[in-house]
């Protein structure tokens, strides 16, 4: 392993009912994924305000991923449908501003999909690591 390997910082917003439980299941099954992923629990993916995502980038995150119940399975019936629209529009806007589209992602992970959770995180970390440090949505004041 290289000593100075670049480690991206990933913030993962997980809905309480499906994806957070999916992450727990990944843990139960001892499925590895990089420690760069830090999970924040939210009741539903629709609780995630675009401001939180921008805030994460401002403070030094290199990638932000939202995980929620599969469409149709939302604990609150429709929350993830709103998430899907909001994030489709937000991500498209970020892309329009020239911000790498690979840094943001929405993934549907059910409580039974521990393996999918781990695989998703492995893939996302790899993708973001390949992009390198977030420069386009950084706040220079927050750099160490």
């Amino acid at each position: 392993m290289q000593v100075n390997e670049y480690k991206p910082l990933i913030v993962a917003f997980c809905c309480n009912w499906c994806s957070y439980a999916g992450a727990d299941l990944a843990g139960n099954n001892r499925l590895n994924y990089p420690a760069d992923v830090k999970i924040i629990r939210v009741p539903c993916s629709c609780r995630v305000n675009p401001m939180f995502i921008l805030r994460a980038f401002q403070r030094g995150a290199d990638g932000v991923i939202l995980c929620g119940c599969h469409p149709g399975d939302c604990h609150y019936t429709s929350g993830n449908y709103y998430t899907r629209r909001r994030m489709a529009l937000l991500f498209s806007m970020l892309d329009y501003l020239g911000i790498e589209k690979e840094r943001t992602r929405v993934e549907w992970v059910s409580a039974a999909e521990g393996a999918k959770f781990a695989a998703t995180m492995n893939d996302f970390v790899e993708t973001v690591a390949a992009l390198g440090e977030n420069k386009r949505l950084e706040d220079l004041r927050c750099k160490k």
């Binding site: 403070r59 030094g60 706040d139 004041r141 927050c142 160490k144």
Partner: protein, 341 residues
Amino acid sequence: MRKISLSKLPELFSAIAKTSALYLPVDTKAGAKFEAWAVGKTLSNALNTVRSAKDFFFPQTENLMDFKVEGKNIELIDTRKECEDFVLFGVRACDVKSFEVLDRVFLAEPQDTYYKNRREHALIISTACNKPQETCFCGTFGIDAAEPSGDIVTYRTDDELFFDAKTEKGKKLLDALSSITEEADEKAVDQQKALIRERLQKLPLKDLKTEGFGSGKTAEFFDDPQWKELSSACLGCGTCTFVCPTCQCYDIKDFDTGHGIKRFRCWDSCMYSDFTKMSAGQPRLTQLERFRQRFMHKLVYYPTNNDGLFSCVGCGRCLAKCPINMNIVKVMKALGGREDA
């Protein structure tokens, strides 16, 4: 007095830039703007820049200091650096005058060291206004666009630029430029001044007078019923204050970077509802009060505290940029500036 052919301006700028950083108005798609000169950049022909020259001394945001908190200890970090010398080229008479207005605020005791640092390292090369705009009313405030102040004053004719050093600092720079400039007589400049004065007489706002305003007039205007109508369309944005060369209000805030605090200041606007908000609330609760504050400050409060000097220089930027076209001229006319002429 020295002069240079306009065709040799790039040489001139290059020569100045060798001694210190040089900023001059250049055209951008968003209008004229002061930019650091670099080879290939040409001087704008616009009368004035969209933003005023105050940005050089009083930038919109500025870090004041950093501090770190660890446990119960606070470590202060002084982030100040000595400013490098720089030259501001092409400043108009109004903007030069605005520095005087700002100086009286920032250089009064206790002096603002951040401001002072930059002010002391600046050399101002002003330019007389060949073609004033209909929104110009610097004359109202006793400013002569044909005779700006500054370390060096320049006049531009069709093919030449004339230099007149007004301060020691200015003379020194002019001397240093003597190899690329030539001696000039004042005749051409006098002609140019006459042309400018003739043009100033054609300005629609030339008769706007300040006589009704000034020191000690608070009671006279404060409760004027016309404030209601004047302020009614005001959206409460900060455009007028931010393009104004003399508006000098700021707010000081702390930003938590996650590994320390940055204490910075940024422009504030008396048009904003949270301006000077205190624990007890806002002192000015309505847009009328905030609107009144801005103009009373320019026309009454500031002169009261500064030997009658008005804190408006008649640059006309607010006339050009207000989204709903309300401005100090309309206020002065409504409240009686003209009648006292």
